[in-house]
Symmetry: C2
Subunit: 299 residues, 2 copies
Amino acid sequence: MTSKASSPFNRALERLVPRVDRALDRLLPRATQEPRTLHRAVRYSVFAGGKRLRPALCLLACESVGGRVGDAVPSAAALEMIHTFSLIHDDLPGMDDDDWRRGRRSNHVVFGEGTAILAGDALLNLAFQTLARAPLGRIRDPRVLWETVGDATGTNGMIGGQALDLLYEGKRVSLARVLAMHRRKTGALLRASLRLGALIGGASPARLRAFHAYGERIGLAFQITDDLLNVRASRRQTGKSVGSDRRKGKATAASRGGVAASERLAARLLAEAHALTPRLGRREAEFASLTETLLHRTR
Amino acid sequence: MTSKASSPFNRALERLVPRVDRALDRLLPRATQEPRTLHRAVRYSVFAGGKRLRPALCLLACESVGGRVGDAVPSAAALEMIHTFSLIHDDLPGMDDDDWRRGRRSNHVVFGEGTAILAGDALLNLAFQTLARAPLGRIRDPRVLWETVGDATGTNGMIGGQALDLLYEGKRVSLARVLAMHRRKTGALLRASLRLGALIGGASPARLRAFHAYGERIGLAFQITDDLLNVRASRRQTGKSVGSDRRKGKATAASRGGVAASERLAARLLAEAHALTPRLGRREAEFASLTETLLHRTR
């Protein structure tokens, strides 16, 4: 998301991200509230320059099917809390052991391991507290919110994907398994973000299926291009240590299938996603523009 | 909870705990399901001989106000998941660094730190997934379930209490602050367990207030007696390392107010709790018996 400041997707980000940021600021406990260190740690990682991709997808999906974006803002903020929880825990010494994140010191480097673990726990819990108080838009049963997010986050989704990622480190793993791991680790929450927004906006079952198919492809392509960046780019570009995946023997599409094959796979997934955008409703142009932005990243 | 196998509270445990254990077995992912290490780690700590105090309080409160115990079983299981999540994370090297729990090796000692962090995360998430699918009994709006549990678990409750516990280690802290920390760390979830069961059972506002007052007192007394056991008992009795709180400079009522004063405080709280039991409904005898069991622990 580095280029083309004037693309439809980037204009949508400029319009929507401030609403997400204001909601996060309102929903997170003040840094002056006890325990202050914990609340400072939570805010440090939530306001660390994240792109807000998941909340943006949620809000765009809601708008795209004719819903009111305001109805989806608290749920979108909850998705960013879950994403941030996963980043804090993934960076811990007992997990990926990364000292840098988005060009800043990782949470545990600044606040210590104990507080970083608790800051992640607090964000996961706060996400569900937020969903318990969020507007429902056109959803009738509030339990749909929790099930959608809980399933994407749990051992069949993000948390399970991270466990597989740990397990595969330094092992010979097929490309198919790497992709199945990415589907859980990154794909599940991206798909849930679209689904949640679409549900709040009142999407038809056919529209929900189109969002699912689109989310499946951009989720996978996003992770593949992220891994390609780790292979090639400088820390200035990614905010992380260059080549850290390789040093750790991380199972990535690039390491298991080769860089060129990864690029081709990402391009194919993004072309498929692009072809789906006419079925996504009013924000078709923004969703098409996102696939182009991601394609640009692979080059 | 070591003595008087025939007390009303212990007979209630014998009757109710198997239902909780069966629900946990049904609700937790199979150990044969991928990622297997993660699911084995989750089950290792959930089935490690816990007393199931929180689920038992939830089910007794439901029965006590005339509710159907079956309606409260999944919610009771969710409470045990949250309790187990907190134990796994508290034992981590970056937190309390305990290698033993309930007489067995801690989760991270057996499965490694990364998996232990994820097992805790998975249990917190699964608790909310469970609450999203739990029967409501006499609750009308399912969001009441989530708010009750989310508030007790978050930075105003258990997670915030653990952050204060870390912060107070090795520091001079007043007894009042120690008690305020215990109210969050242990008290909040115990109170929420009673409240949840009472709500599912259809308790009146007056009954809910009585449960709150009773839970407040047994929660605090429970933590004080737990800390006294850590000072005096053998590992065989507690399943943890003896005197570990003292070695770490943990802020406890015993360390900040003295052992004798702690015993008196616990006895006073339990006497107050006992006096409240006639207002708790049909399971008055069981709730009274619990206060006696806890009182026995202080001696």
